[in-house]
C-alpha cells in the first residue's frame, strides 16, 4: 500500500486509527493491532511477502532471545549473533542480488568461453533492505547490550513491521523505540503535530515530486538530450528524489507521532550542505548513521591512520551504494561519493575551500551531488556516460526533435513545482521542526495544501515512491 493512495488515506488509515484509539490505552493490545494492520499494509503488495518478513522477524527475535538469556556464554551469544546476521543478510542477498550476481557471473564465464548459468527471476520484496537493517540493528544492539531484548515476540514483530516506516524508512533502531513499545501515550498535541507533518509530506510528494519527476523522466529517457535539457533533467531529478523521499519520511514520522512514536529525522536540508561530508550528515540520516555505527566504526573508522580510514570510507560508500540496488550504477554512485569523501578528507580543512563564501561552497557541493544523481538515475553505466556527455555539450547536435524534448522538460506544469521546490530549499524552515508545535497558521496552511494534494492525487496516475525499489 502506498501512503499517497486512495485506499491508504481513506480506508486503511482511518480504520487503523479508529480501532487503535478504541482499544484500551495499553501497549499490549495496541501493539497487537498495529502488528495486524502493518501485515495487512505490507501484504497488500503481495500477500506472500509477509512470510519473508515473518521469517526475518523470527530469526532475529530468536537470536536476540539467545543473546540476552541470563548467564549466556559469550561463545553462544556470538554464535547466535553470527547466525542471525548471516541468515538475515543471506535472505537479503538472495532476494535482492542473486540475479545480479548470476548475470555478472555469466559475463565472467562468457569471457572465458564457458557456458553461463541460468539466471533466476526473483521478485524483489518491497522494503526488504529497510526491515532487514532494522532487524539487524536489534540483534546487534542487544548483543552490544545497548538495547534491552523485546518484551514479547509481538512487540518485536510490531517494531519490524510498523507500517509508517517499514517500506522506505527512516531506518528506526530498536533502541530508539524500545521504550515506546512498552509505554507510550499520544495526546492531542503530538497527534496534531503528526497530522501536520503527514499532510506536508503528502503535499511534497504529490504536488512537487510527482510533477517534477516528469521532467527528469523525459530528460533521462531521451535518446539525444542537449546540454540544457540534460542539466535541467538532473536538477529535476535532484529535486524529485529529495521531495519524494523526504516527503515519505515526513509522512512516516507524522504517522509515527499519531501512534505515539517519535522516529529519527531523516533529512536536514541536505542541499544546504557545504561539503560532501556535510551532505552525508544531512541526507538519509538514518542510513548514514546506520552505516557509520554498524560498518564504518567496526571497521576501525578513522582510528587506524589515513590509509585505513580511506579504505573504510570506500568500503562503506560502495556497500551503501550497493544497498540501494543490484546495479553497477549504484556501485558507481557509491564509488563517486567515496572518492569525493576521501578527497575532502585528504585535503583536510583546505584554506582555499574554506575561504570561499558559504553560498559558493553550497553551490559547488550541489553541483557535485548532481553528478552523483546521474549515476543514481541512469539505467546503465553506458547511459550515465552518455548523459554526462550530453551535460558537457558534446552529445548529439540539436535537430527538430530537440524542440519536442524541450517541450516535455520545460513545461510550466513542471517548472512551477520546480520553482516552489527551489524556494523551499532556500527557506530555512523544515517540516520536521515546523510541525512540532501546531499553531493556527501552520494548521491552516497544512490543511489547505493537503486538500489540494488530495485533489491532485485523484487526478494523477499511480506514482510509487522512488525509495520503494531499494
Amino acid at each position: 500500500m502506498v501512503f499517497t493512495s486512495h485506499i491508504f488515506v481513506f480506508y486503511f488509515l482511518p480504520l487503523t486509527l479508529a480501532v487503535y484509539y478504541l482499544l484500551p490505552d495499553r501497549t499490549g493490545p495496541r501493539n497487537a493491532w498495529l502488528l495486524v494492520a502493518s501485515y495487512v499494509f505490507y501484504g497488500w503488495w503481495n500477500p506472500w511477502f509477509t512470510a519473508l518478513m515473518l521469517a526475518v522477524t523470527a530469526i532475529n527475535h530468536a537470536g536476540g532471545t539467545v543473546i540476552a538469556r541470563p548467564g549466556a556464554a559469550e561463545r553462544s551469544r556470538k554464535a547466535a549473533l553470527v547466525l542471525a546476521v548471516a541468515s538475515s543478510l543471506g535472505l537479503l542477498v538472495f532476494f535482492k542480488y542473486a540475479g545480479f550476481l548470476q548475470v555478472n557471473l555469466n559475463h565472467l564465464l562468457g569471457a572465458f568461453g564457458a557456458d553461463g548459468v541460468r539466471v533466476w527471476s526473483i521478485v524483489l520484496p518491497v522494503g526488504i533492505s529497510f526491515y532487514v537493517f532494522q532487524a539487524l540493528s536489534y540483534t546487534v544492539d542487544v548483543y552490544r547490550r545497548e538495547a534491552p531484548p523485546a518484551r514479547t515476540f509481538a512487540d518485536f514483530a510490531c517494531y519490524i513491521a510498523l507500517f509508517p516506516q517499514m517500506i522506505a524508512g527512516p531506518i528506526v533502531r530498536y533502541g530508539s523505540v524500545a521504550l515506546a513499545l512498552r509505554e507510550r501515550h499520544c495526546g492531542v498535541s503530538l497527534f496534531a503535530s503528526g497530522t501536520v507533518l503527514f499532510m506536508l509530506g503528502f503535499a511534497k510528494k504529490v504536488l512537487l515530486a510527482n510533477p517534477i519527476g516528469g521532467a527528469a523522466d523525459a530528460a533521462f529517457g531521451a535518446a539525444a538530450p542537449g546540454a540544457g535539457v540534460a542539466w535541467a533533467g538532473v536538477v529535476a531529478y535532484a529535486l524529485q528524489i529529495y521531495f519524494d523521499f523526504s516527503g515519505y519520511s515526513d509522512m512516516a514520522v507524522g504517522l509515527g507521532r499519531m501512534f505515539g512514536f517519535e522516529f529519527i529525522k531523516n533529512f536536514d536540508a541536505p542541499y544546504r550542505a557545504d561539503s560532501i561530508a556535510d551532505f552525508w550528515r544531512r541526507w538519509h540520516i538514518s542510513l548514514s548513521t546506520f552505516l557509520r555505527d554498524y560498518l564504518y566504526i567496526p571497521l576501525g573508522g578513522n582510528r587506524r591512520g589515513p590509509v585505513r580510514t580511506y579504505a573504510n570510507l570506500a568500503i562503506v560508500m560502495l556497500l551503501g551504494g550497493l544497498w540501494h540496488g543490484a546495479n553497477w550504477t549504484f556501485v558507481a554512485w557509491g564509488a563517486y561519493h567515496g572518492i569525493l569523501l576521501i578527497a575532502e578528507r585528504a585535503a583536510g580543512r583546505a584554506p582555499a575551500w574554506r575561504a570561499l563564501p558559504r553560498p559558493l561552497r553550497v553551490a559547488a557541493t550541489f553541483v557535485l551531488v548532481l553528478g552523483s544523481w546521474v549515476w543514481f538515475r541512469a539505467e546503465t553505466l553506458a547511459d550515465a556516460a552518455a548523459y554526462f556527455t550530453a551535460m558537457a555539450g558534446c552529445g548529439v547536435p540539436a535537430d527538430a526533435r530537440s524542440a519536442v524534448l524541450a517541450a516535455q522538460v520545460f513545461e510550466p506544469g513542471r517548472l512551477v513545482p520546480m520553482a516552489v521546490a527551489g524556494l523551499l530549499l532556500i527557506s530555512r524552515r523544515q517540516a520536521h521542526e515546523w510541525s512540532a508545535a501546531v499553531t493556527w497558521p501552520k494548521a491552516l496552511v497544512a490543511f489547505a495544501v493537503f486538500l489540494v494534494a488530495l485533489a491532485a492525487m485523484a487526478a494523477q496516475a499511480f506514482n510509487p515512491f522512488l525509495y520503494f525499489q531499494f
Partner: protein
C-alpha cells in the same frame, strides 16, 4: 499542559477528511443501490490480482474523486498548462499527444523496439496477399508531433519535420523488402515548406482535410489513378469538432475553455445524383487502417474522410475496414474474421499511425489469412 486550539482543529479537520470521504462514497453507493467496492475485500481471496482490482475499483468508483477530478484537471491545464499523461501543450493553442512526442524523443523501451516485429508482420501480410494475387501498399501515417515539432515549444523553428529513428528504420526496411510504402513524411515536409495550410488539427491528433488530401494524392499516385473527371464530386461540409486531445483531458471545464475547431471538410458525393459516397465491398481496392481513416468518414460530416476522397481520386468506390487505435494488428484480425472482404481485391492499402511501431496495442504478430478461392484474372 493545555492543548492549543489549532491542534484540535488540525486533528478534527484531518479526521473529517480521511473519514468523511469513505462515508460519502459509501452513502452514494448505497443510494445508488450498488455494493461499495470495499466489500469485495470480504468476498474474494486476497490474491495480488484481486487486491489490485479492488483498489482500482475503490479509486475509480469514488464519488468524491470523480467529482473532484475534472476540476483538478482543469486547474492544472488552465493554470499550469499541464495536460497530464496524455496531452502536451504546444504554442499557439496547439495540443499534442504526449506518447507521440515520447515516440519521437525517448529511447525505445528496455524490451527493444518493435520495428523488426513490424517488418516481419508486414512481410508476412504481403506474402499472404501475394498468394491471393493481391498487392499490398503500406502507408505509415506521421504523428502530428513529427510533422509539427516546431509547434511544441517556443524555441522551435518552422518548418521542421522530424523523423523518428524507428520510423526511418521501418521505411527503409520496407523498401529493402520490396514492399510499396508511401512516404507521407517527405510529402508533408514539402507541403509545409511550400506554405500549405495546417495539415493537422490544432486540438486533435489527426490530420485536417488538407493533410488527408495530400495523403490521398500520394496513395492515388502510387495506385496510378486514372486521369480525367471522376464519378464523384465534393460539397463543402464544415463541421465543428472538439479535438480528441481535448476530450482525453476528461474535463468539461477544459472542453468549454478550449472550444471546438471549425473544420472545412469536403463531402464526397456521386457527381450525377448527389448521393453520399458509399463503400462497395466488391471493389478491387480494400483500405484498412485506424482512426486516420475514420475521421470525417464515419465521424461528422460523414463521407469526407480518407476513404471517400481516395474513392473520388480513383473514380470508383473502395471497400474499407477501420479499427480505431488498432491499425497495426486489430484491423488485420478483423480482416481474418471477415475474409470475404478480400474477394475480388487487387490492392490492399494499409494505413496505421507511426507510433504503433512502438506502441501497437497487440504488438505485431504475423497473422495467417484464411484460404479463399484465387481470383480469376
Amino acid at each position: 499542559m493545555s492543548t492549543h486550539p489549532a491542534s484540535r482543529f488540525a486533528v478534527a479537520a484531518f479526521a473529517a477528511v480521511i473519514a468523511g470521504v469513505p462515508v460519502v462514497d459509501g452513502t452514494v453507493d448505497l443510494a445508488r443501490r450498488v455494493r461499495p467496492p470495499v466489500a469485495d475485500l470480504f468476498t474474494q481471496p486476497p490474491t495480488q490480482a484481486n487486491l489490485r482490482a479492488t483498489e482500482h475499483a475503490m479509486e475509480e468508483g469514488s464519488a468524491v474523486a470523480r467529482a473532484v477530478r475534472p476540476w483538478m484537471l482543469a486547474a492544472r491545464f488552465l493554470g499550469l498548462r499541464d495536460g497530464g499523461d496524455k496531452v502536451l501543450r504546444g504554442r499557439g493553442g496547439w495540443l499534442f499527444y504526449r506518447p507521440g512526442a515520447e515516440y519521437l524523443t525517448a529511447r525505445p523501451p528496455a524490451g527493444g523496439s518493435m520495428v523488426n516485429d513490424a517488418l516481419a508482420a508486414v512481410r508476412g501480410f504481403r506474402d499472404e496477399l501475394d498468394a491471393r494475387g493481391i498487392r499490398l501498399m503500406v502507408v505509415p501515417v506521421p504523428n502530428k508531433e513529427s510533422v509539427y515539432p516546431d509547434r511544441t515549444f517556443r524555441g522551435g523553428r518552422p518548418p521542421a519535420g522530424a523523423l523518428a529513428p524507428e520510423t526511418a528504420a521501418f521505411l527503409s526496411g520496407c523498401r529493402r523488402a520490396g514492399i510499396p510504402v508511401v512516404d507521407l513524411f517527405a510529402e508533408f515536409r514539402i507541403a509545409r515548406a511550400a506554405g500549405a495550410p495546417d495539415l493537422y488539427l490544432a486540438t486533435d491528433s489527426h490530420w485536417t482535410p488538407a493533410g488527408l488530401r495530400i495523403a490521398v494524392g500520394e496513395v492515388a499516385r502510387h495506385l496510378r489513378a486514372p486521369a480525367g473527371p471522376s464519378a464523384y464530386a465534393v460539397l463543402p461540409a464544415p463541421v465543428r469538432r472538439t479535438g480528441d486531445l481535448v476530450r482525453m483531458l476528461q474535463s468539461p471545464a477544459i472542453e468549454a475553455a478550449v472550444g471546438a475547431e471549425v473544420v472545412a471538410c469536403e463531402r464526397v458525393v456521386r457527381a450525377e445524383s448527389g448521393a453520399p459516397y458509399a463503400d462497395d465491398p466488391a471493389s478491387d481496392v480494400l483500405v484498412i487502417g485506424d482512426s486516420f481513416l475514420r475521421i470525417y468518414e464515419t465521424d461528422e460530416p460523414g463521407g469526407a474522410g480518407f476513404i471517400a476522397h481516395l474513392a473520388r481520386a480513383l473514380g470508383r468506390p473502395v471497400a474499407s475496414l477501420v479499427n480505431d487505435g488498432g491499425g497495426a494488428t486489430l484491423v488485420r484480425q478483423d480482416l481474418v474474421r471477415r475474409p470475404r472482404l478480400l474477394e475480388g481485391k487487387r490492392v490492399v492499402v494499409w494505413a496505421f499511425v507511426e507510433r504503433d511501431l512502438r506502441l501497437a496495442a497487440e504488438g505485431w504478430p504475423v497473422l495467417a489469412l484464411p484460404d479463399l478461392p484465387r481470383r480469376i484474372e
